[in-house]
């Protein structure tokens, strides 16, 4: 359930962030990824759920890195686009 919710949040956040008015929606992915990492840390190591815990920790870290990158990162930030040429 948690994994499906995080996956859905990441997908919806990523798709919405492609539209200019909602370009900061990719931070939803950051919040979901942080939650995933926290759940993995708080679960503690060992037990039958260990592979799932490690998977959540690593997936959360990867999603965090991807979510930090701005949607239109290849272009200057909007404020700098007004720079005189």
């Amino acid at each position: 359930m948690l994994d499906a919710a995080v996956g859905a949040a990441a997908a919806v956040g990523a798709v919405l962030s492609l539209r200019r008015p909602a370009r900061r929606t990719h931070f939803v992915t950051l919040a979901a990824a942080t939650g995933l990492v926290l759940v993995a840390i708080l679960a503690g190591s060992g037990g039958a759920a260990e592979p799932a815990r490690q998977s959540r920790l690593l997936t959360g870290l990867v999603l965090m890195m991807l979510a930090i990158v701005p949607t239109d990162a290849a272009s200057p930030p909007p404020a700098w686009r007004r720079e005189p040429s």
Partner: protein, 207 residues
């Protein structure tokens, strides 16, 4: 070689350098090296998860590599970080790839935070790799060729990446000197446009 080519192409330089360390010609080698180290680390992590056999090692032997990867030091690190150390290394190298590809060829000015984040990912990783390699020889008493290869890549990444970080910090320092305001510097760090930053950047672009 890449720096000379960048200068020949006439890309705006990023002081104190006479070339642009954010150019693709400077960043692509970093991304390629980090990608190779990522793949090697994934292979080592697969062994630590027992999803694959001991890694290939024509110099010290697969047994020696397995000894390093199963060592007390490695187990202790696994206890601290919650995942095999090779897996965390793979994530860090993947971060180098992601942050290496993100941003324009003028990101040292437009997004200093991204360059600094990239530096935070690259530079401590290099230091940790060197420490781990040192521990191999001293505490474990065995060597692992692929671990040494990733440590060498980490050091190369530090050498390739530091100039861009320095260019960004230098830009912020010059903007701080120009504006005499920490708030302006803070705004520039986060990619907000400030007159002082624009003036400094314009002076940079001029011959």
């Amino acid at each position: 070689m890449t720096r000379r080519t960048a200068m020949r192409l006439g890309e705006p330089a990023a002081p104190p350098f006479r070339y642009n360390p954010s150019s693709w010609r400077c960043r692509v080698p970093i991304v390629v090296l980090a990608g190779i180290a990522f793949l090697i680390s994934v292979r080592l992590a697969f062994y630590q998860w027992r999803l694959a056999g001991p890694p290939w090692d024509p110099v010290f032997g697969s047994e020696s590599s397995a000894t390093v990867l199963d060592s007390e030091v490695s187990q202790q690190m696994r206890g601290w970080i919650g995942v095999p150390d090779a897996a965390l290394g793979a994530i860090a190298y993947l971060g180098d790839v992601i942050f290496g590809l993100a941003g324009s060829t003028r990101r040292w000015q437009y997004r200093p935070w991204l360059v600094v984040l990239f530096g935070i990912d690259v530079i401590p990783l290099g230091i940790v790799s060197v420490v781990l390699v040192g521990l191999q020889g001293t505490l474990v008493g065995a060597w692992c060729l692929l671990c040494l290869a990733t440590a060498a890549v980490s050091l190369a990444l530090v050498a390739f990446a530091w100039d861009e970080v320095w260019a960004s910090l230098s830009f912020l320092r010059r903007a701080r000197r120009e504006s005499r305001s920490w708030r302006t510097t803070w705004n520039l760090f986060w990619g907000r446009r400030e007159a002082a930053g624009a003036r400094v950047a314009l002076a940079t672009a001029s011959p």
